[in-house]
Amino acid sequence: MTRVFGDPIEVATAADGRPRGFVWRGHEYTVRRVLEHWVTTRDWWHERDLADMEPGEREYWRVEASPGRETGVYELRHDAVTGVWTLARMWD
């Protein structure tokens, strides 16, 4: 089933930006496979300061990852401006 979170997570990334593993609620997850990667722009028109706008500032990685033996599908979100990673959704 799908579950929606929004929890901040810590992510270890490779040189090209893809996540290799993350820590969520104290558990370590290893990324086995990247299923999909996509980006969106942010809704800048709701903001007052337009400095530093970049394309694809919201970055999504849908990955297969496992804390141990069981593998689940996790959607990680990365905000390029703040650098914050969150766990957006998971399927297990």
Binding site: E36, V39, T41, L50, P55
Partner: protein, 1104 residues
């Protein structure tokens, strides 16, 4: 390389100029780039030219709507280019503004074309919907019709990589090549907000994710390396390499050669028959005889014909002569403008009425040996009959061989603020107020304007929460919003024209090339500028009026060009309504220059230009002319060239002669040198060449340097004398009409509105010249302004036109004129069958005054309502019954009996107000009349009395604003020039920057003004004021009525910046933007359907 790229020439879609895209591609090491604008070839010519400059091989295509999706069509070879032009034309053949092709239309033009089926094609959508069978079927159908390739695009959006992989698989299975593209819309990653604003502006919706084509910001011109990384998102490196190779292969097969394939670099003239040169010579010979010109003309003709022959342009001249004769043959007034007036060939062929020898004009400014491309001939025709002239050209040269030229309407400050404001969801009334607060400036100047202009500083705009709007609006600067019919350019060619340019219908239904005037020049197409000039229509109307009232048939072309009475009028500077010489600045110049001949007018027109004004050529010329200074010639040899302007370089032609005299280079080479004086690099090069050549001819170093300084200073600014001479003729003709047939002149000017002034000012000018103004009258007014002899045999008057009535329809005017005379309002109501609002407006504007002396307009107004309720009107097609009921007004209302005199009559002030609302004209009395007491109490000086005031005297003046202008002036300041009309004549005021903090908002925002200023006397007849203060007169009048003269003086002494505004304070918007509550309505007089004053582009505030 990129195969799918939209430039900014795709209106409200692309963001980057074609040149910028090519330059960037070259910088990134690409040697091939396609341009595929949306629904047209709008940027194609610029793309090809830029590619040539940067060593990039050009590919051209179009991104066309096909069904509910889109496909990209690329052209290969001359055949492909012709197919693409005709396919784009076919796409626009349906409903205007909804271009689209079908598979069948593409199939019908398939030769040399390749279709790319990308994500937004029907094939791509089937792939996205996971329907591989449908995708394969659609792909097969396209393959039947035309060579195709599958286009893969991945903007890194959700699901796009998977879709790309499925797309490649589809192509592989079908055996169709797959290519990689990026559907580029902008140059840099950071440009995406502009594309997103354009997405919603195009659709007329606010910014929201669901309305965006671009949701990832990746539609930028990616480097080869970035494109490879995109391919590797869904491919192994080896597969990616294969995809890129296939892309390259298709690109290379579509590279176009500008000369061979597009036909650039040579002229494509209409077929002019056999041996056009021999026929041209014969027609010129015939012209020499007809015009009775002698040996000097023959030598000049031989010289000109030599150039024409060497340039191979005989067919060009024959074609233009043909076109001009065609237009004149329809009885349309037609005059040449521009440098073409300098050519004797044009004169002999009947294209120009001006004898270039008599006015000492040279041909080379128009046509010389050195200059590539076709020369430009511009024809001025009556504006009201311009489309008729176009029609004649289409009929003569053939529907397929003629097209109008287009132009791109681009974003400027106001339009950018409107679109961005709407995109971010500001309320419409607020957007409107903010946009109108700005003058007509470029969008990129928004930031500077907020900082620099006092009227904007006072509005809080800079502090308002509008930064997002202004930031993005600035970035829309110069982007095309849509294409429109160029006001004058017409392409004349042969039946292959449709192979050379795509056309789409203009708003008026004329076929319009998608190329603009620069594009068509690069494509070697003959463009004739047929310019609609209102003054030509005004003069035609005047001539017709003279004939109608029995004054005979005037031939303006044959009127003596040295009439003393006409020049006396011009010297008086009372030239409102005359061509070219009516603006306040021109009237001041006339006052100083005091023209006596047509050549003086030529100089006057040439001097009144930004360049000469900015470089102050005017003063030394006037000093020499007045004998206060000896003319100074940089070298005695130059006296011949510069004598006509007393040593000052005024004309381009003089620059040519000076260069020729000093270097012996000949006029053709001199013209080439003159053209290069415009920019710094060219000037340096020409300077070096000039010094060397002049020194070699034996001129000493000091002389060479002195002459060069003169050329460098004025060379780039001067004015084309041939153009000024061509303009001087209608200028003189209009002044001649004003002097000798004033009523007909005013009827023409009021009907066709050729000048800068609102009609009410022209109307009062007519009064100043003793022309009676006859009120609107249902039994006498014609559709247009008419001359009407007055009963007692004095000067003929002018009758207000029915077309002036706000909201009246052409059909109503026709019925009113056809069914008259009318005996009564009832009679009129039954037979003229106009709408109730029109009938009411006619009553209020006084159109029935002549029928009733017992009844006031207010009485009659009531009866219109009663008539509508009770009086039957014949139905269309039924015989109008005339039951001869006693047509007394009292009976007209049926049961509603309204006796005369029941209501208080309208006061004179109310009548004027009604006239201003309905006609935009104060007919019964001047609008200022009701303020006479206040003006007298304040000691206001009238325009008539200003010339008697000494220089420097401080005076108060008042009047209705006629015009505000902010022309470039020598100091670089923004000076606001305002003209007021105060019953006795115009008052000209200059507001310098030091007073604009307290005055600008009032000057731009109010209509009736009181101003204080110091008298400035610039010449014998030239008086203007340097303003120090101004107030809204209507507001002062309120104060006066409430508290008398003391209250007015107190009000005038207030110093807060908002004091000039009418009562009501300021309206504060949610964003913090503050505006006068009256800033978007026309002050005093209510909402008039037409301008009450003229504003130049630099003026802030609402369009009046």
């Amino acid at each position: 390389m990129h195969l799918h790229v939209a430039s900014a020439c795709s209106p409200r879609y692309g963001v980057a100029a074609p040149e910028a895209l090519v330059r960037r591609a070259a910088e990134m090491g690409m040697d091939l780039l396609a341009l595929t604008d949306r629904d047209g070839l709008y940027g194609a010519v610029r793309h090809v030219a830029a590619c040539r400059e940067h060593g990039v091989r050009p590919v051209v295509g179009a991104d066309l709507a096909a069904g509910s999706g889109r496909v990209v069509v690329l052209a290969a070879g001359a055949r492909g280019w012709a197919s693409l032009c005709r396919l784009v034309t076919a796409a626009h053949a349906g409903e205007r503004g909804r271009p689209a092709v079908t598979r069948e239309t593409v199939a019908a033009h398939a030769a040399g074309l390749t279709v790319l089926l990308g994500p937004s094609s029907d094939v791509g959508r089937a792939v996205a919907e996971h329907r591989p069978d449908l995708a394969a079927a659609r792909l097969a159908a396209w393959r039947e019709a035309v060579p195709v390739a599958v286009e893969v695009v991945d903007h890194l959006g959700r699901g796009e990589a998977h879709r790309a992989a499925r797309t490649v698989a589809l192509a592989r299975e079908a055996g169709v090549p797959a290519v990689l593209a990026n559907a580029v819309r902008y140059l840099d990653p950071g440009d995406f907000p502009v594309a997103q604003v354009l997405d919603v502006a195009r659709r007329g919706v606010p910014l929201h994710r669901s309305h965006l084509d671009d949701r990832t910001g990746h539609a930028y011109l990616k480097s080869p390396e970035e494109m490879r990384r995109v391919a590797e998102r869904f491919h192994t490196p080896a597969e990616a390499e294969a995809l890129l190779a296939a892309t390259r292969e298709l690109g290379e097969s579509c590279v176009l050669d500008p000369g061979r394939d597009l036909g650039m670099g040579r002229a494509h003239l209409p077929d002019a028959g056999d041996d056009p040169y021999a026929r041209l010579v014969a027609r010129c010979e015939e012209g020499l005889r007809r015009r009775g010109l002698g040996d000097a003309a023959r030598a000049r003709l031989d010289h000109e014909l030599g150039i024409v022959a060497r340039r191979g342009l005989a067919a060009y001249f024959l074609t233009v002569a043909d076109a001009a004769a065609l237009i004149r043959g329809r009885g349309i007034r037609c005059a040449i403008r521009g440098s073409g007036a300098g050519s004797l060939v044009n004169h002999l062929l009947g294209i120009s009425d001006l004898d270039p020898l008599r006015h000492d004009l040279v041909m080379e400014r128009f046509l010389s040996d050195g200059r590539p491309g076709l020369p430009d001939i511009d024809l001025d025709v009556e504006s009201a009959r311009r489309t008729e002239a176009y029609r004649a050209l289409f009929d003569r040269f053939g529907e397929d061989a003629v097209a109008c030229v287009s132009m791109r309407e681009t974003y400027r400050a106001r339009s950018a603020i409107r679109d961005v404001g709407a995109a971010v969801g500001l309320p419409p009334h607020e957007i409107d107020a903010i946009a109108k607060a700005f003058p007509h400036i470029r969008a990129r100047q928004i930031g500077d304007a907020l900082r620099d202009l006092p009227e904007l500083r006072q509005s809080n705009l800079g502090r308002a929460r509008l930064e997002v709007v202004f930031t993005i609006a600035r970035r829309l600067d110069g982007l095309p919003r849509h294409i429109a019919l160029h006001p004058c350019g017409v392409l004349l060619s042969d039946a292959t024209l449709r192979d050379r340019t795509p056309v789409e219908p203009s708003l008026l239904g004329f076929p319009m090339s998608q190329f603009d005037k620069r594009d068509v020049e690069a494509m070697g197409l003959l463009k004739l500028d047929v310019i609609g000039v209102r003054m030509q229509s005004a003069m035609a109307h005047a001539v017709a009026e003279v004939e109608r009232v029995g004054g005979g048939r005037l031939a303006l072309e044959r009127v003596p060009r040295d009439d003393p009475a006409t020049f006396a009028l011009i010297r008086s500077a009372r030239t409102l309504g005359c061509f070219q010489i009516e603006s306040p600045g021109q009237r001041e110049l006339l006052g100083r220059l005091q023209p006596r001949t047509l050549d003086d007018l030529v100089i006057d027109i040439s001097l009144f230009r930004p360049g000469p004004v900015a470089s102050d050529m005017v003063t030394p010329f006037l000093e020499a002319r007045d004998g206060r200074r000896e003319p100074v010639y940089p070298h005695p040899d130059l006296a011949g060239a510069l004598r006509e302007s007393l040593g000052v370089v005024v004309f381009h032609e003089q620059v040519l002669r000076v260069l020729d005299v000093m270097t012996g280079c000949g006029l053709s080479e001199a013209e080439a040198a003159r053209r290069r004086l415009a920019d710094a690099t060219g000037q340096a090069e020409v300077g070096a060449w000039f010094r060397e050549r002049a020194s070699a001819r034996g001129h000493d170093a000091a002389t060479v340097e002195r002459v060069w300084r003169t050329l460098a200073a004025f060379g780039a600014f001067g004015f084309c004398k041939a153009h000024a001479a061509a303009f001087a003729l209608p200028t003189y003709q209009s002044a001649w009409l004003k002097r000798h047939h004033p009523a007909a002149f005013y009827a023409g000017v009021l009907t066709h509105d050729p000048g800068m002034y609102p009609k009410r000012v022209i109307l009062h000018d007519a009064r100043h010249f003793g022309v009676p103004v006859l009120p609107l009258d249902v039994n006498r007014s014609a559709p247009d302004w008419h001359v009407e002899p007055v009963a007692h045999g004095g000067t003929a008057g002018i009758r207000v036109a029915l077309n002036e009535v706000r909201g009246i329809s052409g059909a109503e005017v026709d019925r009113i004129v056809t069914a008259r005379p009318y005996r009564s309002l009832t009679d009129f109501w039954r037979r003229a069958r106009v709408s109730r609002p029109t009938a009411e407006r006619l009553v209020l504007a006084g159109a029935f005054d002549a029928l009733y002396d017992r009844h006031d307009r207010r009485d009659l107004l009531l009866r219109v309502g009663a008539l509508e309720r009770s009086a039957p009107r014949p139905v269309e097609g039924q015989l109008a019954f005339d039951d001869d009921l006693d047509d007394d007004l009292d009976a007209a209302g049926g049961t509603e009996r309204i006796p005369a005199g029941e209501l208080p009559p309208m006061t004179p002030g109310e009548r004027v107000r009604a006239e201003l609302e309905i006609l935009g004209l104060d007919v019964s009395e001047h609008v200022l009349t009701r303020y006479a007491d206040l003006l007298a109490a304040l000691g206001v000086v009238r325009a008539r009395d200003l010339p008697g005031r000494p220089h420097g005297a401080e005076v108060l003046v008042a009047g209705a604003k006629v015009a505000t202008q902010t022309p470039p002036v020598r100091s670089g300041q923004r000076v606001i020039f305002a003209t007021l009309d105060d019953v006795t004549g115009p008052v000209d005021l200059a507001f310098f920057e030091s007073v604009q903090d307290r005055c600008a908002a009032t000057v731009f925002g109010s209509w009736l003004l009181l101003a204080r200023g110091r008298v400035r006397r610039a010449g014998p007849r030239a008086v203007s004021l340097t303003a120090t203060d101004c107030w809204d007169l209507a507001w002062l009048h309120e104060e006066w009525r409430a508290g008398g003269a003391d209250a007015v003086r107190r009000a005038m002494a207030r110093t807060d910046p908002g004091r000039g505004r009418p009562v009501g304070g300021r309206r504060l918007f949610a964003t913090g933007f503050a505006a006068s509550p009256y800033s978007d309505v026309t002050p005093a007089g209510g909402a008039v359907g037409r301008p009450l004053w003229h504003t130049s582009g630099g003026s802030s505030g609402p369009l009046p």
